[in-house]
Symmetry: D2
C-alpha cells in the first residue's frame, strides 16, 4: 500500500543469487510495434521472477525503457507500452530471494558507452564478480548497483573488437560463471549463453523476425515457432543481416542446470531437447520404481509436485487424487499469520481434502525439500484430516551443496539435505517413509525425455552440483561461500 | 495503476447480480482481537469475490470498518487491521460481473439506525428489490447505493419487534429472493439464511466463540470446528448468551443452488452435507457413464474442470493427464491481447502441452459452457498441438435460463445452451463429440456425496432453475428479465 | 504517499464543524460540458476546504459523481472529468479540523429518493442535528455518515410539496442553524441560504447560464458576471425556466459571519456588498487608530495578516515592510519537527528577515490569536533576529465563545481570549504591547467597505457571537457544547 | 495520481539545464541522527527545485539513500527517514525545466568506486560535459544517466591523489562550467565551489558539527549558525579532523550569478555578503529612480515582484498596495485551462483586485520578462478590473543571452528581450510605459546590499552574461547552443 522505494538500500554487494527470465524480439518490419510482444513474452516467463519487470526497445535511433518493482501486469499499462515504440527490444523478469531488493537492481540495465546505447538483461551469476569489480574499479569504473549486469556492461565498454559480436565475445570470455544474456543495441539484438550452457536460452522465429527467450513457453505465448537452443558458448546476433551465429569460446562440456527440470522451468517448455513435462512424469515413474510402497492414493503437493505425482501413479498403479487444495490468491502484500496463529490452526495456503484423505494410506509427492518446515506442516495437516499413513516421495535427490550459478540456496546449516540423513529427515517431518529420487534416476528421467535411454557418466550434459558437489567450473572452497560474499560487501 | 474511483458512477440500479462471500466471528474473550481471524476467513473465501473486500468490527462500544476495491491482501495491511480493534466482527468479499463497480457498493454496509449501530454483509439477490425500494422511497427513505444490502438495512430500521432477532425476522419476511446475511451489532453477530437455503451459510466453533461462513473451507482456514449448516429460514444469533437459533419463517422446501457444486464453491468445502470434491468426482464418473468414448487421455480445463476429469478417468479407465498449462499470474491490470494479436497466435492464459497431446484422442472435461468462445479456442489449441480427436464432456447440464438468485448470467441471446442444440454447439466449438451431464446425473452426483443413493423427484433439495427453468420462488416472466432490470434504472 | 482510508472510522457523531465551499453551474446549452467549470470554480474556493473535493453532474437523464480526499488538483484528472459529462452540476470542497476525516463524509452526497436523484453540497452547521437525527431514526431512517448533509437529504425525502422548491422549503424550515446549500437534480440546480444568511452564497451569470458560489472570487475564476447575493431565507432555482427566487422562510435579521472578513474569505471576494480586501485594509486602519504605537516598521504575519498590516501602515504612516518569510511548500504529508527539534531551532514555516528586522521597533499584525502558541514563537523569532520592540496588533477582537455555525473552535480551555485578559495574553506571548481591534471597530471596518459609515447597534447585520456571545439563534447553554457533542455520539 | 515512471526515457543527452539545491550535514556525535536535519534543510531549499528530492547518509560503515520524484514532503515519510540512519549525510532538490524528467536523473548519485562508497549532489552545469563524456567513454566508462553528476563521479574515480581532497581537486580541475557540489563518503562531507563562484555555497555550524548549503536560509531552518561562504575554487572537507579548507584551483575572478538576487534565491538568504531582500528592495528603488512615473499605486506581481515593488513604493512615495491575488493551491497535477477557456475568461492563478485597481494609475513591478505572454495577460486583467493606466517596471535588465551555467532559458527566438526593443515589448504586452532596470542599476543594488557603494567595472563580482553576453568562461559560439545540444544526443 503506497510508498515506492526507488533506492533505499544499504550499499553493499549482497551476493544476490536470483533466478530470472530474459526475452528479446527483433521484427523485420521497422514500423512494427514490439513492446506488446515483449509484454506477453515476459508474462509467460513470470514464473522465473516476480519481483521486478522491465522492457527496453529501440526504433533504430534511440533506446527507450521502463522498469519497476512488481509483476509484469503491475509494472506496465497501455500508456507506458504506447510510449515504448520500437521494432526491436528486450525484456527481463527478476526474482529476488532476499528482502534487499530495489528498483536500481531491476533490469534491463540501459547504458551509453563508446559504442553507443545498449540495454542488457541477464540470467545467471558471475562466480568471479568480486574480482572483476575490483579490476574494473582499479581502472576507474564506478558502480551504481550491486548487480552482475553492471559488471558485464563495464566489461563490454572496455573490450576492443571489430564489431559488436567481437566486442561481446571478448567481454564474456572474462567471466567465470553462468549466463544467458540478451543485449539490445539500436541495430540488433544479441543473445549469448555461457560455455557450459548452465542457464537455458532458445531461438524462435516470428514472421520474418526472430525471438530469444529463456524458455520455449514464451515462444508459444506469442505464436513464435521454435528454431533451436543456443549452444553453450555461442552468441546469436539478429539484425538487418538476419541471424548470425558466432562463437564466444569453446564449450568444455554441456552442464545445463538440472533444477530447471525439477522445479524452475514451466511444464510446457522444452529445454535442450527435453520436454519438462515429460521429464517430470519420468521422475515420478522412476521414483515409483526406486521407492515403491503399498498405498491407496498418490497426491502431489500443489503445484510443483503434481506432475511427478501423476507419473508415480501411472507407474505404481495406485490411483492419483487431489488431497491438498491450494488457495490461489496469495498476493505480494499478504499478511502471513504469526507463529501463534499457525499453532492455533490458521492455514492460509493449503488445506487438506478431508473426504479423499480420510482413512487412506497416502503417497505425497513433492519436487524437493529445502528446509523441511513446510513439508512437516503438510504432513501434519494430512494426518489431522485422517490419513492413516503418509509416505513422502521427492522427485529429486537431497540438495546438499550451494548453487553458484543463479539459484538462491539457504546456508548449509539450513539445508536439511546437507545436515541430515534421509532417515533423520523422515523422522523430522513425521512421515511413515521417505524416498528421494537418486541422482542417476534424475538424469535418466531427463535423458528419456530427450529420447536417449540414458547418458554415460562421462557425457552427462547436466549440472548436478547442488546434489553431488561437482561444479562444472571452479568455485570458492566449500564453507567459504558466505564468508566470501560478506567480504565482498566491504573491502 | 493509480487512481482511486470512490464514487464515479451512473446513478442507476443496474441489477448487478454478484456472487459474494460472507464471514463473521464472535469471540467470547472481550480482549481478543478478531480482525486477523476475519482477514484469513475472507482470504479463504476469496474465490467467491475478487472485486472488493471489507471488515467491520466492534469492541462492544463502537463499530469500526474498512472496505475498498481489491483482493483481501490488497485492501488490508497490518496498520489497518491494527485499527480494527474488536472481539466480534464480520467481513465480506464481493464479485462484480460488470464494469460498473465502485467502492460505494462494497460491503459490509455500516449504518446507524434507531436500534444503534449495525453492519451488514449479504450474499444473494432480492427478486423484489425494485418494489421494496419503491415502497421504502414512498416512506421517505433515501438510497446512496444500488446494492440490495441497503434495502435490507432499511427494512430492518423500519421493522418493529421485541428484540433484534424479532426485528430482523420481520424485515427478512418481506424479502423474496436468496440471501445469506451476517449482521454485526455492538452486542452480537447474527446470521440468516433464506427459506429455500439458496445460498449456503454454516456455523463453526472456535474456542468458546463462534463463526459464521459462506463455506466450511473458511472454518478450516482459521482452525474452527464445523458445527452445522444454518437451516433454510433460520436465524442464528451469537452473543454473550451463547448461540441462539430463531425462525425467520417456514421453509417451503430446500433449494440450495446446484451451481455451488458445479463451479462456485471451493473443492474442500462441505455444503449441507455434501462434499464439493466428492460431488465433482461423482459428476465426472456419471459423465463417463452417460457419455462414454474411446480415447487415449482425459484432461481437465484448468482449474475448474480438473476434478471432474479425474472422476471421468477413474470411471472410464482412460488415463488422466495434463494437457493444458495455465499461467497463474493474470493480475487485475493485465492487458488482454487485441483480437488481431489473438489471431496471430498470442496466448496468454493457457498453453497446450504438445508432448502429451500430440497424436492422442483427447477427452476434455470442463464444468460448463457459457458463451462457447473460450471452449472453441481451447479446442483449436489442442488440435494445433497435435490432438487427433477432441471429445468434450461437460460436468453440468446446458445452462438455459437466467439466474435470479445471485449469479450473473449473460442475456439469453448469448447463452449458447439456450439458443442451440447439443449437436449445434459441438459443431460450433469444433469437437468430435460433445456430451453434457444430465440434470438427473448432476442431482445424483451430489446425492451420492451426501450419502444417499438419490433423491426422489419431489424431494430434490437443489435449485436447478438455470438448467430446467423451475424457479423455487416466483420470478418475473421469462424474457422480461432484462427489460425489468432496465426499467428499474429509471422510473 | 500511499494508503487510502475509504471508511475506517469510529462510528460516532463527532460534531465535526468544518468550513466548506459550495459551487454550482447550470448551462443553458444541453450539449455543454460543465465539469471543467466546476473544477476551476472549486479551485478558486480551495481556501475554504483542503480535505476533500467532489463534483456531481447531470446530463438531464442521470447523475454521475466523483469525490475523494485531497485537493481539487489531486482528486480530479482529465480522465475523470471526461466521464463527468453533463450541462449542469455542483461541487464541494471540505475542510475538516479534526483527524477523523474520511471519504464517506466527502460531498456532494448523492442519493436516490422518491423524487428521483439528487446531489447535495452543504456549507454550515445544524444546531439541532442530534434531535433531527433522533426523529428521523424513529421514523426508520438509516444513516451511513456523520455529516449534516445526510440529515438534510432525509428531511427532503420526507417533505411533501407541490414541487421541488416547496419540498426543499419545507425541509429547510425544520433546521436550526447555518447553511448555504446547493442541490442538483436532473432538471435544476437549487441554492438556499439560511434565514440569517450566516454563510455566504451568491449568484452569477455565465452566458445564458447561471452560477451559484460561496464567494464571488469563484465567479471571477470562470469569467462569470456577479449578479447578486442570495438573500437570507431565500432559495434560487435555476432550470430551463430560468432563474426563480422562492422564499424558504422569513429572515428575522441578517447575521452574516463576521469571521468571513477577518480570515475565511479570499481577499478578492465581495460578500453581501462588502469587499473583503477593503474590509481588511479598514480593519488595519481602525486598529492603528485604536492602538497607536511609536515604531519603525509594520509587518504582517503571512499570509493572513498582510492586508491589515498594509492598512495599519497607511493609517499610521509607519513604513510597511516584510519581516517574516513564509515557506510555500508545506504539503499534506509534511513531517512536523518534534518538540525537541523546535527547541533546538528548527523552523519550518516562517523565517525572520534579519536584515529588515534588526534594530527596529516592529508592529506585527495578525488576523487573530487562537491558542497563542504560534504568536509566541513568531515573537521570539523576531527578537532573535534583532527586533528591539515587538508590538502585536490583532485585526479582530478576542475570540471568547464557541461557534455553532460551521467554524471549528477549540474548547474554551484552549481559547486564550476566553481565559485571559489582554494584558495577560500580551505577557504570555512576550510582546511589548498588544492591541485587539474592538468589536465596534470590526463592524465599522466592514460597514465602510459596504459604503455606509456605520451600522447602529440594532441593525448590525453580522454575527459576532464568537466575540460577544450573542448568538442569532438559540444554541445549547454555554459550557455544554462539548458535553452535548459527546452525548450525541452514543445514546 | 497513479503511475510511477522510474525510467521511461529517450536515451539522449538532452542538455537539461536545471537549477538545484544542495545540502550537507556532518554531526560530531556518531550516535546522532542526521536525516531529519537534511529533510528540513532541503525543505528550506525547496524553491530551488520541486521535481525530485533525495537524501544519502552514512553511519560510518555504509551509505544508505533514497530519492524519488516529487516535493521533499512527498518523497519522504517517517518510515523512510527512520531507515536512513547516520550521523552524516547530504541531500539534493532538483528542478527540471523540461518534460523529460525521470527518477534515474534524481540526486544524490550514489556510486561505489575504488575509493569506496560516495554520494554526490550537484548544482550547476558543465560546459564541457559532452567532450568529457566522450573522453571517459573512450576510456571505457558506461553512463546510466544524462546528468553531469555522473560525469563528475567518473572523473573522481579516475583521478589519482594522496587523499580524497587531492583526488577531488584533480577531478574538478577538468571541468569547465559552474558547480556547487557536496560529496559524502563514509568518513566526511566535502563541498566544492567552481573557481568563479557562479553557484552559491555556504558553511554553517550546528553544535560541534558543520553544515553545507546552497543558501543561508537552510542554515536558519535547522538552527545552524552561518560561518562563511565557500570561496571560488575552494573545497571544504568536514570530518573527524574538523573543518579543512583546500584549494581546487586559483579563482581568476568572482562571477556569482546575478540572477540569484533577481529571482532564484529566497528573500531571507544572504549570499556572498549580500542580503537578497535588501538587494531586491534596492533594485526597486533604483528602478524608481531610473524610470519614474506619475501613478496612484505600486503593486507587485506575486510573489516574485513583491519586494521590488515595496522598494519602488518607498523611493517614489507612491503607495504600495495589493492589486493581484494569487491562488496558492496549484498542485503538480493541476489541469491547465485550454486556450478556448482562457479566452472565455477562465483565470486560475491570479485575479485582479477590482476594488483597489479600479480607476487607478498602476505601477506593476515584476522581476523579469521571459516570453512576455504572462505579462500580457496580467496587464489585460488589470485593465478589465478598471486600471486606467498600467506602467510596467522590471527589476532586472532584458534577458538577451542563453545561460550555460545552470539556468534554463528558452531559445533566443522565444526570448522577447533578445528579439525586440523595449518599446516593442511594451507595445506587445500592452502597457502605457515599460522600464527595465539597467545592468548598472542591478549591480549597484547588490553592491549596496554588500555595503559598498558600487563596484568598478573591472571588479564587478557578478556574472551578468544573460544580460550582456560576457561569459566568465569560454562557451560555445552564439547560435550554436542548441545545435550543440542536439549533436550531443547522438554522435
Amino acid at each position: 500500500m503506497g510508498g515506492h522505494y526507488t533506492g533505499l538500500h544499504e550499499w553493499q554487494i549482497t551476493g544476490l543469487r536470483e533466478e530470472c527470465g530474459v526475452f528479446g524480439v527483433y521484427l523485420s518490419d521497422c514500423e512494427a510495434d514490439v513492446s506488446p510482444m515483449i509484454y506477453y513474452g515476459l508474462y509467460a516467463l513470470q514464473h522465473r521472477g516476480q519481483e521486478s519487470a522491465g522492457i527496453a526497445v529501440t526504433d533504430g535511433l534511440r533506446l527507450r525503457y521502463f522498469k519497476d518493482m512488481g509483476l509484469v501486469s503491475e509494472v506496465f499499462d497501455p500508456k507506458i507500452l504506447n510510449q515504448l515504440k520500437g521494432y526491436s527490444g528486450i525484456g527481463h523478469v527478476r526474482y529476488s530471494t532476499t528482502g534487499s531488493s530495489y528498483v536500481a537492481n531491476a533490469q534491463p540495465l540501459v547504458v551509453r558507452y563508446k559504442g553507443g546505447d545498449m540495454a542488457l538483461a541477464h540470467n545467471g551469476n558471475l562466480v568471479n564478480a568480486v574480482s572483476l569489480r575490483g579490476e574494473l574499479e582499479a581502472q576507474g569504473a564506478v558502480f551504481q548497483t550491486t548487480s552482475d549486469t553492471e559488471v558485464i556492461a563495464n566489461l563490454i565498454s572496455r573490450a576492443e573488437g571489430d564489431d559488436i559480436k567481437d566486442v561481446i565475445s571478448q567481454a564474456m570470455r572474462q567471466i567465470n560463471g553462468s549466463y544467458a544474456v540478451v543485449i539490445l543495441t539500436n541495430d540488433a539484438i544479441i543473445g549469448v549463453r555461457d560455455p557450459y550452457g548452465i542457464r537455458p536460452l532458445c531461438l524462435g522465429k516470428l514472421g520474418d523476425g526472430y525471438v530469444l527467450a529463456s524458455e520455449s513457453c514464451a515462444l508459444d505465448a506469442i505464436g513464435a515457432e521454435f528454431v533451436r537452443d543456443i549452444k553453450p558458448g555461442e552468441g546469436i546476433a539478429v539484425s538487418k543481416n538476419g541471424v548470425e551465429s558466432f562463437k564466444i569460446m569453446d564449450s568444455p562440456k554441456m552442464a545445463l542446470c538440472s533444477f530447471e527440470f525439477v522445479y524452475l522451468a514451466r511444464t510446457d517448455s522444452v529445454i535442450d531437447g527435453a520436454g519438462v513435462y515429460r521429464a517430470r512424469i519420468n521422475a515420478g515413474r522412476m521414483l515409483a520404481m526406486e521407492h515403491p510402497v503399498q498405498a491407496d492414493m498418490v497426491i502431489g503437493v500443489p503445484d510443483s509436485g503434481t506432475t511427478a505425482a501423476i507419473g508415480y501413479a501411472q507407474q505404481s498403479g495406485i490411483p492419483f487424487g487431489e488431497g491438498l487444495i491450494k488457495n490461489r490468491y496469495v498476493g505480494r502484500t499478504f499478511i502471513q499469520p504469526e507463529q501463534k496463529m499457525r499453532e492455533e490452526g490458521v492455514k492460509v495456503k493449503l488445506n487438506a481434502l478431508r473426504e479423499t484423505v480420510k482413512g487412506k494410506r497416502i503417497v505425497m509427492v513433492d519436487d524437493s525439500i529445502v528446509r523441511g518446515t513446510t513439508s512437516s506442516q503438510i504432513v501434519e495437516m494430512l494426518r489431522e484430516a485422517g490419513a492413516v499413513e503418509v509416505h513422502m516421495r521427492v522427485s529429486s535427490p537431497p540438495v546438499q551443496y550451494p548453487c553458484y550459478f543463479g539459484i538462491d540456496t539457504p546456508s548449509r546449516d539450513n539445508l536439511i539435505g546437507a545436515m541430515h540423513t534421509v532417515k533423520e529427515i523422515g523422522d523430522m517431518i513425521g512421515v511413515d517413509s521417505l524416498g528421494y529420487l537418486s541422482v542417476d534416476g534424475l538424469v535418466r528421467s531427463v535423458a528419456e525425455a530427450v529420447g536417449r535411454y540414458e547418458f554415460s557418466a562421462s557425457d552427462c550434459p547436466y549440472c548436478l552440483a547442488c546434489f553431488d558437489g561437482h561444479y562444472p567450473v571452479d568455485v570458492p572452497e566449500q564453507g567459504q561461500k558466505y564468508l566470501f560474499e560478506n567480504a565482498g560487501g566491504r573491502k
